[in-house]
Symmetry: C2
Subunit: 137 residues, 2 copies
């Protein structure tokens, strides 16, 4: 049994900071659960285009407000506490947090934790986590 506290993970190298968001990786591939589990805050005022070509991801909003635009359909959905979105078709999308948006995210397959550090884009998660070098600007 693994037991971890968010504050400890945030103070560790499992916490990843970027210009647009920060993410505490509570579970990564190495933990052997078959998924990864992150507590991710997307910062107020940001515009975060994302496309995970090889991962499925669900995001559940704990705090804050914003929108998600589905670039495949053009639909815009409101994000509030209690809203979940699931990218079941590797959907290209843009998240626009009006306030800091605190979420819990699940990735399948699990993120290894190395992807973001290897990326050189301004929005590292814009590209697929598995192949950041190929698609980042």
């Amino acid at each position: 049994m693994l037991v971890r506290k968010l504050d400890d993970v945030r103070a560790s190298e499992r916490n990843v900071l970027t210009d647009g968001w920060e993410s505490a990786r509570m579970l990564l591939k190495g933990d052997g659960m078959g998924f990864s589990f992150h507590v991710t805050t997307m910062y107020a005022g940001g515009e975060l285009p994302m496309h995970y070509r090889h991962h499925l991801e669900s995001v559940f909003v704990l705090e804050g407000e914003g929108t998600i635009e589905d670039l495949g359909t053009g639909e815009i959905h409101e994000l509030r506490p209690g809203t979940m979105y699931a990218l079941d078709a590797h959907d290209r999308h843009i998240v626009r947090p009006r306030t800091d948006l605190v979420t819990v995210c699940v990735f399948n397959p699990p993120v290894t934790g190395r992807e973001v550090h290897d990326s050189n884009g301004a929005y590292p998660i814009e590209s697929d986590l598995a192949e950041p070098a190929r698609t980042s600007p």
Copy 2:
């Protein structure tokens, strides 16, 4: 892209109520994500022995307090907002919520949604979700 709201799921047949807990299944096996994602409240004062023999599960506490006892080691861990436990070895355990304990839970493989309805035990999740009829009292 799937977009769902917790209040809508709680008002639907995807919400499962038992004596000891209730669980809003935001994502089930049929959603094709490869995991299921639940918002589960374990009620104050309960004692919930659980053992998932064929599933891995992570639980992240959003609200409330209690303990989890690892029956393999005898260790007791405090549960508070921000604490996560992950049953990476099909660990037998008992959760004892002191207050209502609101959590988000991820199961791999995903729960189908039929398991609890098929069970006849007072604590349906005591037995493995995949085989409730064999192990429930």
